[in-house]
Symmetry: D3
């Protein structure tokens, strides 16, 4: 069984019942999530040995976060405990015209305040097949940033493949240019995941006009990322938000070695929960690549998996390989 390590911040998500507005009822549903944790949970459901690395506070909230990861089948041997709190985000899913609303309360988390040298990446990555991190992690603090860069460095040294999902969150970069650290993180990776807007904002790589996500623009962006930063593959996602309840979803994958750009099937999805769509795409692409599926098939697998995610409550994509393949076959 392949082993994938992912590293990032886990948060508690609190959402109102049904399609209510936040705090309309005195009830909140708890979920746990975070970009890399979502990847780790997806991978566990896909049958991969999935190790997740983070830092959780040593209290009942941190215990609950740990239990939630374990319930999904994620391995948590390398989870640190400490710090003052777990970050929280409040999510109102919206409905049709009423857009998704997210209120973040994530500052000063145990993860953001971790020490740069708290993790022994040689030990953690020993024997791993893949390492995954997002562009959110270096934005969260000095410790996470240095640790993520160190992890990528060690992974390269040990021959562990690396993927980076840009995950552009402007609010986390206020007053700072994300490019220097993100370019460092992405340089030489095996797979970079993002969209043209994130490529421009986080890597300083501009290709085509903003808002235009034609295949030509995607190709230009992918080629530029590969050329400038040496990424072996670039995966790009396209989400068309028709409304809070309906999204168009498709992706493309550029392989530097062949210069091929594969464009996926398009899914028009009645959305149950949009959070974690991109993360489930990254996870399924890692799975399918490790499974040896050719690029075009890996892309279809990842796209179907992430379209399916949009129909599942919570951040985690609780689907098996068989369920994803059934989508592909049904629509093939």
């Amino acid at each position: 069984m392949k082993r994938v390590v992912s590293f990032g911040e886990l948060m508690m998500r609190l959402s109102p019942p049904g399609s209510e507005r936040l705090f309309q009822s005195p009830q909140l549903r708890t979920f746990f999530g975070g970009s890399e944790a979502n990847v780790a949970a997806s991978l566990a459901h896909l049958g991969v040995r999935s190790d997740y690395v983070t830092r959780l506070p040593a209290n009942a909230v941190g215990d609950a976060a740990l239990a939630a990861l374990r319930a999904e089948g994620v391995r948590t041997n390398n989870v640190l405990r400490g710090g003052d709190r777990l970050g929280i985000y409040f999510v109102e899913s919206g409905a049709d015209l009423r857009a998704l609303r997210v209120v973040y309360d994530r500052a000063n988390s145990g993860f953001a305040t971790m020490a740069a040298d708290a993790l022994d990446w040689e030990m953690i990555l020993h024997g791993a097949d893949w390492f995954h991190v997002s562009g959110i992690t270096p934005a969260l603090g000095e410790g996470p940033s240095a640790s993520a860069l160190r992890a990528v460095e060690v992974a390269r040294h040990l021959g562990v493949r690396v993927s980076v999902d840009l995950n552009y969150r402007p609010a986390l970069w206020t007053g700072r240019d994300p490019a220097p650290v993100t370019r460092e993180l992405v340089r030489g990776c095996d797979v970079m995941v993002g969209n043209p807007g994130a490529v421009a904002a986080m890597l300083g790589v501009r290709a085509g006009e903003p808002g235009n996500e034609s295949d030509g623009v995607l190709r230009a962006a992918a080629e530029a990322v590969s050329a400038e930063l040496g990424c072996k593959a670039v995966a790009l996602t396209r989400r068309e938000v028709v409304s809070a309840s309906e999204h168009g979803w498709s992706t493309a994958l550029y392989t530097a070695a062949t210069g091929e750009l594969h464009a996926s099937r398009h899914y028009q999805v009645q959305v149950v929960d949009r959070v974690g769509g991109g993360d489930s795409f990254a996870a399924a692409l890692i799975y399918a690549t490790l499974d040896g599926r050719p690029a075009a098939q890996a892309l279809e697998f990842a796209t179907a998996a992430s379209a399916l995610k949009l129909t599942i409550p919570g951040d985690f994509n609780r689907v098996t390989v068989d369920e994803v393949d059934a989508i592909i076959n049904r629509n093939g």
Copy 2:
């Protein structure tokens, strides 16, 4: 900050969980609502100083109604307490083919049995900018009817602008002609809100064929109302009930002074809760007018606000000015 006074009956609404039929589970969700209360709650969320006037029983049910109003930010200084009960209505939202089902149990409420002279309208309307009432109020009893007419009279005297939403409910007028009292209520108002059917049934003003709601028919109805009853503006709503889950929603606004008829953008809405759509339209039109927005812009604001309402559980439109403007800008 502008101050708007509204007057009418507040009821308790009881609905089953999710998309269940009434009493399929032994659970009911409580809401509070009523045409003018919905207007008052919307206005409070839009940042207006919103005073609501009603009569609630002096028991735990009345206390809960009062708390619900206050939670929305509505001012309740002029709420009377007394009478035997609060009216109740049971609402099953339906789904797709299965239509909305409402069971009313509103007779003999504290509001319906209030005395005609229970309210000192000179005091209540002193310093107000706007007074709003619906055509439901005079149908509920002698006291409410006389009090509503007195309120309109005082408002005119004090220079307070007046709006009336026809809100035609045939069951409340069984065996009676609504025209005499409703015409009196509407006469000379600043804004009348309704639809061609209500205009015909409640004002005895007929224009065009029933069921036809073309712009020409709307204009004819509006012109007739203005000409006969001296209303300065007439707002007309068009709801196309595709199914319990999907409505078309658009509106028009006729301004007597200019003879202009503005037709709004059309919204095709996946409906979460259809109750209170017209009320939220009236509220947002009052807000936008008081805010000094020109007729066409005020209409777009009110239409977007009320389309948004259809996506929110309960009777109240819990949306801010920024949220409504974002809809307009996104779709503009």
Copy 3:
């Protein structure tokens, strides 16, 4: 299988979740109940053929009431449909120091407004073994009162045994003396159920000092009722409300023919739901009497059944004969 007919008003009860105050959350749990309906439901669970007679509105609320009765196994062939509404009562159970709070909204129900001759008691009581009614029924309206008296008359004529539970509710008798009609109802019955306070207030039969419920006082009251009104047996209940969460519960049964007064075992109960305790006592006494148990044993059965009721949410005593006998054996 024995057949028992009971007649009275069914209402919808609405209660908040857990130990909350009314309307603290926007959730209500629906129950259905009413003194004679509670008797009917208890009897059905005890395996008796239990016919309940009432009048329910022909709407979704009435349908739900009917479904609730049927689910308990109550026969509803003789339930009339009509009238404007179902009565409602809001129940907050309280906890410890915080007392039970009930808000009634029962006026103008379909039952209260039924016609005096709406029911054909000869047909309904044909072949029945027992008829049960409470002192609430004649308080609710002219129709119910006349119909109840007629039912008792027909029952006597047909040799159907009759029980009456006084169930004194002062609020229903404001400005009226309950004695004339209640004495008429009780006269000659096979079993009267009540407590010394109700005997005084509703029958005008005074024995002993108020507040004193010693065996001597109970005997005096029972003897007086038997002597004055010809009741063959008088059952008296004693509830000591230590707090909303703890009640003492015991009963006594006087048999006119023998002059014996049996006093039951005393139960100290941690109360889950106090509503329907007396009704479940009456039902179990009817069952045990029909089952041929001697007076002392019938009394112990009825007392255990009603103590058990206090531990069950809702108005209905959902317990089997085996469960009641197990209580007696365990404590015997």
Copy 4:
């Protein structure tokens, strides 16, 4: 009032809240259902005297099943009690791309292990107007199979009309050919309900190519069934599963006596709960036929009723005749 008897297995259905995956929350909603029970419940709501015959375990689960049937208005006089357990099925409704998922745990139920001669069909069917059974029943065990065949035989003898819904469930027939027993069950029935695939698999009657459900293919299948097995009418359903949330739904009815094939209106339904659609069709067709509606109208009634079912949570179609007729009129 007409009396219809149906016979089959009742199970407990457990479903997660909202659109969650199974066991995502530690909460399950209980429903009860089963092909013939769904027919019986629908008929009760349509105002028919509906008798349901099954065997339920003599424990709290069986008691709950019985209470659920009674709450719907189904008559349960002929329900046997015994056996070890009630079958259970876990249903995840899915959403859009995510398909319905059902996990069965139905083996060794009290019904499956009933004796072949446990029921006195002469007594049960005496005075009945119609008998209904599905093709699931004979698959469940020797006892149910023999009893179902005996019931059909007795029905024919007593002049009770018979309908059979094929309800093909491949998992129940593993390693067995359903044709011998199913052909016996269907032979000479008044109405057979199914679809071309079920006709081929369960009756060995092939007409047209698989997957093709054109009117021509439907007619061919219906004619073959009538010719070979002597069915007087053949009703065929067509469900196009666009996604878990959207189905196309239409039906056709072939009348052997006239050779006419009526095709129903097509409904495109936003699905709330797909379970029980076919059962509600059968029930409404029985009702409309007994009500004397001509074939084309009976078919429209049954199709509208079953389209409406798809919008109702649970297996049972809780709709009245008026509600179904309103759908037809609204769309007519």
Copy 5:
């Protein structure tokens, strides 16, 4: 109507359902609370004009906090909006042996980071009758501390009576001596509320041995506080935690002018929610004092009110004057 101003931090409280451990289910019940907010809410229910002053973040969480206050009838005109977050605390109520568990996540709240001069106390306290603050407020930050001291100074200047509830929370004072600022806050107040332990820890006033709460020790502590700090009255609470589900509750009130020490009735309470007990005592003591009740009666009122609080879910004491007086009369 009397007007009371209170000032402090409001937090969101999150609790698991029923008697579960934290995060045992993925559900949390939201409450809002905080020492002075609890006082303000209690006062509003007691019919006092209750103004609460705090600082809430300008986001959906702050909006919900504001709505919760308003729903209780608290006036929020002087609530500031700003800062990064609302403090949160997770409360597991425990049961019997299993003790209450609280996890705080309150650092960096909008209240803690408010500016020292953000509030215009002359304006806010103009016309007020009473000002209340707890010893928690100065522990939370420089701004709250300075503002609280300023409020007390202004109150004295304007003749507004002042109460201070010590509310000792060791975790908030780690590494700091609470005495200097708390003594300043308490000096010259009209009523100080606390217990002997808090008096020792926060005021540096020691009287008697630790753990001993006899009347003599209470008197000694009260006399010392009055003598050293000039408090006109000292109220002391005694809570005996038998288990998480059962508390003993009694209080004493020392009046400096007379030297009298009144000891209250003792309540043994089955606890539903222990949070806010002391706050409800302070609120009811303020109410009863403003109502002109003599010391001994005011103390009994406050003790009954706070015993009642222990039976109510949430932090707020939702009880009326009549309900409290009923407890006194019932037990009197």
Copy 6:
């Protein structure tokens, strides 16, 4: 960290909300539990490396069971997948007079039908410190019985300590004498857990009169078990069921080597959930023994832990070592 292996059947438990009767609402709360699984979960919370061995069906129900174990921190590497179903039990907790009610539906589970040689006990127990099994396991089927005996044999061979909890369930042994296999299982174990009744029924070891659980009787039973079967220690539990809501709880531990009998402190517990009390005692005794605590202290730890369990919903004892020690210290 010590490693403990436990082996037995895991079931799904379904319970109604609050204090309701089974199926009173259409809602069930899911838990997972089973005697040895409860031990395994307790040990994981106590910080032990806890390996649980069972067989779960390869479907969504088995997946949920696995996720539930993992969430508690139990290691599931040696869990087999297969068989037809997971056993289910329905639990109504009761209240006061109303006793606990359990309905089992556990036949034909994947565990009961496992093969005798399905598990490689040499591999599983390699490096373990302790093996635990209950007397339920051999009752469930040939495979579990043979596998349990083999596990004990291998454990002895590898020097792994062994504990057996008798857990007498008469319904599982109908028509069979449990003694032969249970004696074999218990022979030579390090700790046997039981009560005098189970010792008599399952081991055929009688000491003292039935129903008498004095220290003398306990000692006699323990000595007999040690003498006859060579158990090194015998732990005996005493539960006095005052009512469904209140239990007395105490234990005793006999050490064969010293002949000492330690009797624990007595706890009088307000019960939240009685299921799993004995299992949590066994788990905590294993923990404390492995932790090197002397017999008397280990017994107090285990008794406090299991008393605490009675206050926690579900079968699992979610408490830490610190929480248990706090109970001991508080009561010490």
